[in-house]
Subunit: 358 residues, 4 copies
């Protein structure tokens, strides 16, 4: 009810602030007998970690997970799995300069409006550091999905005005981890990297788009009428820091299509039932139809910039705020594993939900 | 859990199929003492009703609500409110022609994949007729919001390639109900109407965009980290039939902006704390900040077209499907009250949720 | 959240007041393909119906169910099942005599304290008439349980001081429907009937105990640590009007037992793993172990008596209240199907919940 | 859904096994601005701690809480509060003797039936050690209740056949912490202590009853029809390890009362509206009426006894099990703070739930 839980059956509860003791997550409802190691989780955390390349923040966090419960002799027991990631970088900084000021386009003011009392250090609970818990939980969801043959791949397809024009379904996501931008096209990746470095030098930030492709999702998952598969994917993505938009399948582009062009005809291709086109994005009536699922997620430019900005303080007086420290000039490269993790949580949850109907 | 409930405190549960006895909704968690009449609800149902103009389906449904519980002497009692809308048009039709066929880009096949057994008449539960329950419940949410001074207005801002270029925050929504398209600009409305009529004549369909503006939303509502206000709005919109995309504030356009341009500076304007720009769309860190909230919702072209289409039947054999009956050439004019209803449900729920923190 | 829903996967939402249009329930999460007819439901409603014998209230209610959705061609579709039971006896009465008075040990005062505004006619939402919805939903749960071989039988084992001394596990529940008291022992039934008639003549009421036995419950259901099977059964029973206590297995009697006497030894009886005794009541650590589940439910004497009673009115002034109309001198005979229905809802829900672990 | 969460608004999620890294709890939905220190929590943990007297287990656990999030500068922030209690006693023991055996009346066999794979060390998740998380969370609930003036007191009123005969509402609970049994009557406490020591010497165990009195609970809390205040209290108590029964107000004794004796007359005592008797136990129609709430909780004798017992192993072969180590001869003295904690969680949650109606 208070917003820190996600999922229905495969359900996660997260906690922690950017500059507190650490960040953690309980996964409740994970089936028993799944093989999980800390390595599997740490591998995903590595992809999200700060300081991984010159186009990400230079902050240092070890980001190693501790499994506190729910896994015995290397396998899940069906009881709650508690994962904890200690904060390391939290002590050194001095946050008195923003204690009583509201940074523009951050959540400082709104947390104050909502709760009255807030942990102002580095954004506290509103910091994107919270997503480390999602990636950790997502690693377990991915392990379950692997057993079902489901493959989830995300990649950066736009930074600023640099935009890949190819069909998401045809991108080569195996290329993604080969460049620091996490773009599935190496030539575009080089251009994007140089743009981001340029923006960084200016002390500025820029937005981007992450596209995600889910292959081999079993048909029949998603729960109409409110928990349509794409509605839950949309909520999952929109809950990630800095996200401003979500579209799946034909998305906003469908608006100017005619029904006769947009409809996906069912065909029988030598015994395989499929659709000739896939504007539906693998989901019809909120339920997966066995075709690839794909969607786009829009990220705004990061709010922390290394420039003086006008703002107000707690007393409503004008003041100046300037970004200190080490921040991401563009959030999308590190957000790729977050998008995958949230997608994995949704698909895993809905696969388990569908068990009830079988 | 099965997907037919929405909201946390102001919670609705819907039921019903397009060609069954009727459609209904229970609203649980409505505070006591709210004045509600059937008229208030019927007024909203009128706006959604089929047959209201020559650009909508000519089906006939009386769509009058019956209040079955929870309201006594004209006021809510705090107990569940049950609303029922009888189906009238359901008897005459013959659906044997689609009993064993899967219509393209409909949910026929996926309901079959999910449940094995389905009500095939007119789409059954997957029909957009289900949204009549949402509009009925939304009318009650709107009554509560009125007490809080919140105003929600939606309108059609794009049909096919005809697109209003103005800032949503500056549109004159008082114009919306003056034309059959429900576009807040009368000149554009005329063009859109003629385009839709043209498409209709061809037996085809076309998509559109509905924009929504929420004024006077109290600051401090929305529950990070997963139930961010825009994440819940996004899910609400994506759960509406035919929706393919959602963006709020600067949306997909933010991707190519620089942080320095996108950040909304806090200012004190003669005692009123506000932001100089509003790319944030009234929501920061998932919490309302007191500025106007606005978003866009993309609708695909309706799947039912009056043309022969290739498809398969239950046995996987090729077959031909042709739309029969009376369908909407463009869904957005009738979807305007649905978008408003879903927005009202989300805002009302979050206002009640915030009471716990006070 | 507002208290009108029960269950997690097999979830019900009820609505309606005793003197409104009717009472209803939505069942969400019922698996598809279950054969259900109105007859199956009406048969259970018959057992709960007022006016069925001289020891129950003489009120008249037809209590026939209308299925409004979720069942097509005689089988569930996996979509919400809406059941509605019209009120018939609601019009004739005059309730002005209790409009501003609070009847002793009724919920008149507390509904006023909670909601401020209430439907005072016949108790409104607080009336035991609400349980008709539970029995209707329970009939569907029973149909599912039948497929799993689970048998649930309840019966009256105490009225006032007349108490059956036999082990619940050895009672002959086939006798229950052969007498108006619904006691599984015909001799005791005769004594109880005469006691209740005597109490009725005095215009008074008396309490009773219903015992319930569940056979063939599959092992492994129940969700520790909070949703232990007996905790959910306990809540289910305590939520029934007039219930004051719940005990399962050895119950309150276990308090004076020694561990060495109370422990149930596991034995292998010619290939069947079972316990030699069953003080555990078929549940260990909150999870069913395959042995019979049994429990007792204590009902207080009905609050409505045909005698003058002192009370206060809305203004806090002393007044006199006297029961009018036709009420039950003892609630337990009609509560037997309610206990069974609630037990069925809990067991059915937990069987579905366990599917996730398989 | 998986059973490890409790509450609706003030919601807790627990995790941890008896012999894992530790036990923990997330509290989500705690209002901001509540003053909380580790001391307040540790004080309650002290009361539950093993090794506190000669009539409890001699196991050693430091049981000091670590606050990991949600509290900043000594006050709650409205974000999730994570509490962690490390296990200390977990390393030394050897559990190979019960790895493949099922201890009688423990949850070994049922966890195996449910999950297939389990942490067999000391009961794992089924151990009563899990309740340390409840007591920690309950300490925060108590802090909130204190602000509302609500006082919750539990005490041991029966051990074996030694039973206090006084009205719970008249017990002197200030006496409870003055004796190791936690009985509110010092003379009875001495007898109970000597009985427990005697039982302990025999290597046996015995059951008991804890009674609980809640004073100054605000009227109007509790959510009919399913979440009646006593139904939620009942579930809370029944979810505690070893509990077999729950009754509130007149409880099982009401069964043999007449309505005319049992009804609580409303009276106006010099401006104070109250009932002349309180058989209702402060709750009518599931809603608090402002009178004291009281209830009894029955605990069975602890299953671990220092005697040889017959059982079976994983292969269904007969075997012998003998308790090893240090266990409680009677669980009730240490369960008193657990009962209080669970009661506090229920009352706190329902007070917050009622805010929505105001």
């Amino acid at each position: 009810m208070a917003g820190n839980s996600f999922g229905e059956i495969f359900k996660i509860h997260t906690f922690g602030e950017s500059h507190g003791v650490g960040i953690g997550v309980i996964i409740d409802g994970c089936p028993p007998g799944i093989i999980i190691s800390e390595d599997v989780i740490n591998k995903e955390l590595e992809r999200r970690k700060p300081g991984q390349s010159k186009i990400t923040t230079q902050r240092k966090e070890a980001d190693k997970v501790i499994i506190q419960s729910g896994i015995f002799e290397g396998k899940t027991t069906g009881t709650p799995i508690s994962l904890f990631i200690a904060n390391q970088d939290q002590k050194s900084k001095d946050y008195s300069h923003i204690k009583d000021k509201f940074r523009p386009s951050h959540a400082d003011k709104t947390y104050d409006q909502k709760y009255g009392h807030r942990d102002y250090r580095g954004g506290g609970r509103s910091s994107a550091r919270e997503t480390v818990a999602r990636v950790a939980a997502g690693a377990i969801a991915k392990s379950i999905l692997k057993k079902h043959g489901v493959a989830i791949h995300a990649g950066v397809t736009q930074v600023g005005k640099l935009k890949l024009q190819e069909d998401i379904q045809k991108l080569d996501f195996s290329e993604t981890e080969n460049n620091v931008v996490r773009c599935p096209n190496s030539q575009m990746a080089a251009k994007m990297e140089s743009l981001i470095l340029d923006i960084k030098k200016q002390g500025n930030t820029i937005g981007g788009v992450i596209s995600c492709l889910i292959k081999n999702c079993p048909p029949g998952i998603g729960d109409p009428v409110f928990d349509k598969l794409h509605a839950d994917l949309g909520k999952a993505m929109l809950s990630i820091n800095a996200v401003k938009g979500f579209e799946y399948g034909s998305g906003f582009g469908s608006v100017s299509q005619l029904g006769s062009d947009h409809n996906d005809a069912w065909i029988n291709e030598e015994g395989t039932i499929k659709t000739s086109t896939n504007f539906s994005g693998g989901i019809q009536g909120g339920i997966s139809n066995g075709m690839p699922i794909y969607f786009n997620v829009a990220f705004k430019p990061v709010a922390t910039i290394m420039k003086d900005q006008t703002s107000i303080d707690k007393d409503g007086l004008e003041t100046t705020v300037k970004g200190k420290g080490r921040h991401d000039p563009c959030v999308v490269p590190r957000a790729v594993p977050i998008v995958e993790a949230m997608a994995a949580l949704v698909i895993c949850d809905h696969i388990l939900r569908q068990k009830v109907n079988l």
